[in-house]
């Protein structure tokens, strides 16, 4: 057994513990938790879309606690300024100097609630942080302390007075995760957990234990980055991303960052399954959340209420699985795979 395999096995245990801790607080949304954990392991950012009241803040808070990291939340509003996000310099009359007050982005896990309610300038401030992992205040750059992950949310229902994120900025997110209502049993558990011996409806993450440290997360991210991916599997990811540019019904397909995101996320997906190598099924699993915000449907499909997921499903059905260089059977006269 190689070191990589040993490390992968250890990481698998940690990640399973992380998942189950998050699921103690964030009940009945296993797929969402998986995607968030994948993004954390990939050092990517997530755009969460769901109606209010589904526990988006709770999700980020519980993950923050499970990794022993810091947590910040910014409620995006139309009057929010870029300096409210990144920080600003204030004049200290006592010392007669300007003192830098760091904004909420200086954290490990940042919840940017309803990001589409703020104007483009403020959105861009956050998205620059996401891309560069550093903040510039009054001409001075400051690097964020890793791990850093932003979870931005959008409400799919209320579009009045919102500023939709441009495609170029959407591209910065590793995943767009759709969060839906929990099923009946899960909702019962949520109600029971929130109301039993608790006053008010505050979010409690007391039950969540810290199972990883920030250093563990950084090590895990490095291990994920080293996860083996066969060339044919990488080619498969690229073919899927390229197909979004050729498929009918898509006005704008995914760029190279789409394939990059698929490959990064599929590595984490493999680790989540306890493997140290990527399979085509890992690629398939992450392709939809990695691409759904990078494609724009043709107007006629949008009018007919098609969703990007429908088209991506068709694309996945149309792209051939990778051919793994099947050897020719020597007993046969004609060449096979």
């Amino acid at each position: 057994m190689t070191d990589q395999q040993t490390d992968a096995g250890k990481l698998y245990q940690q990640v399973q513990a992380l998942r189950s801790e998050i699921e103690r607080a964030f009940i009945g949304q296993a797929t969402v938790v998986d995607h968030i954990v994948l993004a954390l392991l990939t050092a990517g950012h997530v755009l969460l879309e769901g109606v209010p009241g589904l526990g988006k803040t709770l999700l980020v808070k519980s993950m923050s606690k499970a990794i022993g990291g810091e947590f910040s939340r910014i409620q995006f509003t139309p009057d929010l300024m870029p300096s409210d996000v990144s920080g600003h310099a204030v004049y200290d009359p006592k010392s007669e100097t300007f003192r830098v007050r760091r904004g909420p982005v200086f954290t490990n896990l940042l919840l940017a609630d309803e990001i589409n309610r703020a104007p483009a300038k403020t959105q861009a401030a956050l998205l620059e942080v996401m891309q560069e992992n550093q903040v510039t205040i009054e001409g001075q750059s400051a690097r964020l302390k890793p791990p850093f992950m932003a979870v931005a949310t959008q409400n799919p229902v209320e579009h009045e007075g919102t500023y939709p994120l441009p495609e170029a900025q959407l591209d910065r997110f590793l995943f767009k995760v759709l969060i839906d209502y929990p099923d009946h049993e899960a909702e019962k558990k949520i109600v029971s957990a929130v109301t039993t011996e608790r006053v008010g409806d505050s979010l409690y993450v007391d039950d969540v234990k810290t199972v990883m440290s920030c250093a563990d997360v950084i090590a895990a991210q490095q291990l994920v980055a080293r996860t083996r991916i066969d060339e044919v599997v990488l080619d498969y990811a690229v073919r899927i991303a390229r197909q979004t540019r050729q498929a009918s019904g898509i006005r704008m397909g995914a760029g190279p960052r789409g394939a990059i995101s698929i490959v990064r996320a599929s590595r984490a997906c493999a680790v989540l399954q306890g493997r140290d190598f990527v399979t085509p099924d890992d690629v398939r699993k992450v392709a939809v959340p990695a691409l759904r915000h990078r494609i724009a449907l043709a107007p006629e499909l949008e009018i007919e209420a098609y969703r990007p997921d429908d088209i991506l499903g068709d694309i996945l059905e149309s792209v051939d699985a990778p051919r793994t260089g099947y050897p020719v059977c020597p007993s046969l006269s004609s060449p096979s795979y």
């Binding site: 085509p280 059905e317 149309s318 051939d320 699985a321 051919r323 050897p327 096979s336 795979y337």
Partner: protein, 511 residues
């Protein structure tokens, strides 16, 4: 047919009023019509349900049921036509006549005329006039000039209403399903129509039957109303009825007027010559001499009447009508190619060639279409539910962008795997084991795989479509193959040899 006994007011109507007139005839005799409808259609419905539940041809049930719809139409047509002329339309006699009517209407049952765009106005010609072949076509041509388009309109309206009702009933039914159970039927109500379930097919058929029961008699009646109105106009039935009644009332004194009317009528309606009712049920009556005109046919009466009519001022007027007419050149003596000039000949030749080319291109298009349909049979044949068409032994298998055929695999999978393994060709051994298992799962157990299936999709399909032990065995095969193919990790020899030992228990019946 005896026009004196007609039970409705015959007068020229607009076409849409005529369809309403037909619908009113249905309403008048609704009880008898619906009794006959149920008596004729329920056996077909029962047969279709048997087809769904007890044969593998369930997907054809709806189509077959729909195809034989004109059998019931014939019975409805018989009732309303007989009631129109004051005859008794005994239900038992109508049911007894159904096979004969079906034979009369066989053109609508056994040929592509089943898809006739204006069947409701075409059926009376076949059934009531008993015409066939060129006589039917000539007769239809005369009637179609006036009512074909309206017949298409009726068909279009009917088909749309039936579909709207069909989907509406299904949707209402779906709306009453509690939310907790809806997910078992799929994500949306439209998935009801694609469910591979006998119960769903039966519900679909029964819903269609309900929709059809509500509308089919009205469709037949509307077409019949158009047909009767067309004949009333072409053959001046209303005038004839009026004169006949006048003759009856004033038998002696108005003889000349009656004769005059009979003589003038052909001038008013030239096509009357071929518009005779020949329904065997009513033919006997038409063969009898008409008592209303007995004694009026002697030359002493007719000749002076004719002369006086001809001399009347009304027939002396002349009118000049100009119109364009195509000059036929079928007779070679009438116009030779020399007379027409070279430019006309060239133009004719060009258009002849052009039309031939278009026709040829169309036939090529049809051939290409058929070829595409044939080549894509693997994709659409499964939806028809034909066991022969989806025979697993003939099914093509696509894996990883290529076709997997029996020729690509060794005759003895297990021996080939052992041999490759012993020779140190571990990847090849596992490849044969994996591909052999996929091949056997499809050919021996009818597992369906999408063309884009990955290893995980194959495991999912085998798990869903075969028994647990076979699925577990297949999962182990795939597990080893995936580790070797993508992880570059060789499995333990024991694990591979164990799979070889177990393989014949799960697969290999086709070897």
């Amino acid at each position: 047919m005896n026009l004196e006994n007609v039970t409705v007011e015959l007068r020229p109507r607009s076409e849409w009023e005529a369809t309403d007139f037909g619908a009113r005839m249905i309403r008048r005799d609704a009880r008898a019509i619906y009794l006959v409808w149920f008596a004729v259609t329920l056996p077909f419905l029962a047969l279709a349900l048997l087809l769904i539940f007890f044969t593998p041809y369930g997907a054809w049930a709806m189509l077959l049921y729909w195809w034989f719809e004109p059998v019931a139409d014939g019975a409805i047509l018989r009732i309303i036509s007989r009631r129109l002329f004051g005859e008794d339309a005994d239900i038992a006699a109508t049911l007894k006549a159904v096979p004969r009517l079906a034979w009369l209407n066989r053109i609508f049952l056994l040929t592509p005329y089943r898809l006739h765009f204006a069947r409701s106005v075409a059926m009376p010609v076949t059934q009531l006039e008993g015409l066939k072949g060129s006589a039917r076509r000539a007769r239809s041509k005369v009637l179609n000039m006036k009512i074909f388009n309206y017949g298409i309109g009726i068909t279009a309206a009917y088909e749309h209403l039936v579909l709207a009702l069909y989907f509406g009933i299904m949707l209402i039914g779906y709306a009453f399903i509690p939310d907790a159970y809806r997910h078992t039927l799929g994500d949306t109500w439209l998935e009801l129509f694609w469910m591979e379930s006998n119960v769903a097919a039966a519900i679909g058929l029964l819903t269609f039957y309900l929709a059809q029961t509500a509308l089919q008699p009205w469709f037949v009646g509307a077409g019949f109303g158009l047909y009767i109105n067309c004949r009333t106009q072409l053959e001046a039935w209303d005038i004839e009825v009026a004169f006949r009644r006048m003759v009856q009332r004033r038998a002696g004194a108005t003889a000349a007027i009656a004769v005059l009317a009979l003589l003038v009528m052909p001038l008013l309606s030239p096509p009357v010559a071929i518009a005779q009712e020949t329904d065997p049920d009513v033919a006997e009556e038409t063969a009898e001499p008409d008592p209303g005109f007995a004694g009026f046919w002697s030359d002493d009466v007719v000749v002076p009447a004719l002369e006086s009519v001809n001399a009347s001022e009304a027939l002396q007027t002349t009118q000049r009508v100009e119109d364009w007419q195509r000059i036929r050149t079928d007779d070679p003596e009438e116009e030779t190619s020399k007379d027409r000039g070279w430019s006309r000949n060239m133009l004719d030749a060009f258009f002849e060639l052009f039309s031939r080319a278009i026709e040829f291109a169309l036939w090529i298009g049809v051939a290409i279409l058929l070829l595409i349909v044939f080549l894509m049979r693997d994709r659409w044949l499964p939806y028809l539910g034909l066991p022969g068409a989806t025979a697993p032994s003939q099914r093509r298998i696509f894996l990883a962008g290529g076709e997997l055929t029996a020729e690509q695999l060794p005759d003895d999978i297990v021996a080939a795997v052992r041999s490759a393994w012993r020779a140190g060709r571990k990847r090849e051994a596992l490849s044969i084991l994996y591909r052999g298992s996929v091949f056997a799962a499809v050919r021996e157990y009818g597992v369906r795989l999408p063309r884009s299936a990955t290893e995980g999709a194959c495991v999912g399909a085998v798990t869903a479509q075969t028994d647990t032990s076979r699925a577990e065995f297949f999962r182990r095969v795939v597990h080893l193959w995936v580790r070797c193919a993508y992880g570059n990790q060789d499995p333990a020899e024991d694990a591979v040899l164990l799979l070889c030992d177990e393989w014949p228990r799960h697969f290999g019946a086709s070897q």
